[in-house]
Symmetry: C2
Subunit: 299 residues, 2 copies
């Protein structure tokens, strides 16, 4: 069941890496009411860096320590990080709705700071997207009532998605791609510890090629850490796999901004923080202007 939060935030930030945190800090400085939605572990890339020398102000610091400074900064400003992976975003004219598993958030502006994912597409994935391949169980699950589906799980969050699907689908084949050693209560969820090599099907998904065998299915949910941004928000303009932005960090959709690695190379910390600042400040201006306009009597 979908929980809807009636409140409309000034800004929703998707991603809590350096770009998302910097956007949050700058929105707060401008007195904006924001929600910061991030995955389990903000900026694993930074966390793993042994030593960072090129973020001005800190010399010879470990990625872990620097990340702690960043998180402390947002905490001191009273900004909470909501542990939520956003699956899709819809524009509803006046505001945006962000769907994160079974919760809906609303905001007048959106800042995408989703980073980049190193994972490659599976053979067949791009071709069959929307024809049996989905990234969002909450969105597309109801289409598979009584049918057999696979859940290709790159993160723990997929567990809950599989459980949700088991209430609708026939069989749910749970295929973990990370160290999973749990079990499920629902007996129509079958765990498969094999690698998916190909997604087969001409016009719709028919089967998966696993390690030396085929598995017939009607649909597959691929649940990665990061959903590709153009899957997240329909109509978002992409330029060579990155979100297209201008120098004010505006995307092609009014009210939607982007910052950090998801906007292009070089994938670098200070660049992400700087872009997060510009996105945050411009989102604040956008919202302030929008609210002012809506207060004016019509001509």
């Amino acid at each position: 069941m979908m929980e809807t939060n009636e409140k409309i935030y000034d800004a929703a930030i998707v991603g809590c890496g350096p770009a998302g945190l910097s956007a949050a800090v700058n929105l707060r400085v401008r007195n904006m009411d924001l929600i910061l939605l991030g995955a389990d572990f903000c900026s694993p890339k930074l966390y793993k860096a042994e030593n960072v020398d090129n973020y001005l102000g800190f010399y010879g610091i470990s990625g872990q320590e620097l990340r702690d400074h960043f998180l402390e900064h947002v905490r001191k400003m009273g900004i909470e990080i909501k542990n939520s992976k956003v699956d899709s975003i819809y524009s509803l004219g006046d505001y945006f709705t962000l769907i994160s598993r079974n919760t809906e958030y609303r905001a007048y502006s959106v800042i995408l700071a989703t980073g980049v994912s190193n994972e490659k597409f599976l053979p067949g994935e791009e071709k069959l997207l929307g024809s049996g391949v989905s990234y969002c169980a909450t969105c597309d699950g109801p289409l598979y009532r009584g049918k057999d589906v696979a859940v290709l799980a790159y993160t723990e969050e997929a567990i809950e998605e599989a459980e949700y699907l088991s209430e609708l689908a026939g069989n749910v084949f749970f295929i973990p791609q990370y160290g999973f050693n749990g079990k499920f209560a629902a007996d129509n969820i079958k765990i498969i510890n094999e690698r998916v090599q190909i997604i087969n099907g001409e016009y719709r998904v028919k089967s998966l090629t696993l390690e030396g065998r085929e598995l017939d299915i009607d649909g597959i949910f691929i649940l990665r850490e990061v959903t590709p941004p153009d899957r997240l928000l329909f109509g978002l303009e992409i330029d060579n796999k990155h979100i297209k932005v201008n120098e004010q960090m505006e995307t092609n959709i009014p009210g939607v901004f982007a910052a950090g690695d998801c906007t292009g190379l070089p994938y670098q910390l200070a660049r992400a923080v700087g872009q997060g600042q510009v996105a945050g400040l411009n989102a604040a201006s956008f919202v302030r202007k929008k609210k002012k306009e809506s207060q004016q009597p019509p001509d």
Copy 2:
């Protein structure tokens, strides 16, 4: 007399505010040999900020403290700030020459991080630039041998320029725009404590309108803290008073990059630091590629 340093640096950075410092740190991380040229007091704007809350990693810090962290960072990396105001830059095909009063520096790439100046043009200044109005005594002084010139001095550095001009010119009218209370040994330097209202002349500078009187002159040297970037480097493309850059911080001149407030709004710290990083890393790539090409035998 011009001192020439025969050495060619990998990169010369003009300006030691946050953008320039970030560029320096990133060039050093890439093992580049750089020279950092800055005015007396790096980033007076930051220094004067009472409290900075929106540079990720530091919360509730004074501008002065933050600037100290920045300067400590570059010092720890062995980067020295050369106290030099750059008056003009020339492209010499293979490298650039930067002229700073009586010293010449050479570099394969240039990063402009000159900030923005709030000073307005004087009436007549733009029209007569190059026709009696100059920003560089070292460059244009020899044209005024035996003639009468004014030095409109916004900074202390103008003192030495006036002294240099007194060796060539007839009379040198020194017009300080800051708290000056010194005197000159050369008796052809006359101090005028009045404001300049208009620079007069149809095709060439003829006189200045001071407070209620006219002063006949053949030329005027206007010495501000910051030289407008398009005066600094001939042919540099400007867009609405800012240096035009693409998202890689490249200007229209190959090998010349720009970062920080001089590239546009918003005038913000994290943005400047992020852009400095991108400019620094791209200047490093530019130089590495150039050196590689010059090592290859011709076709």
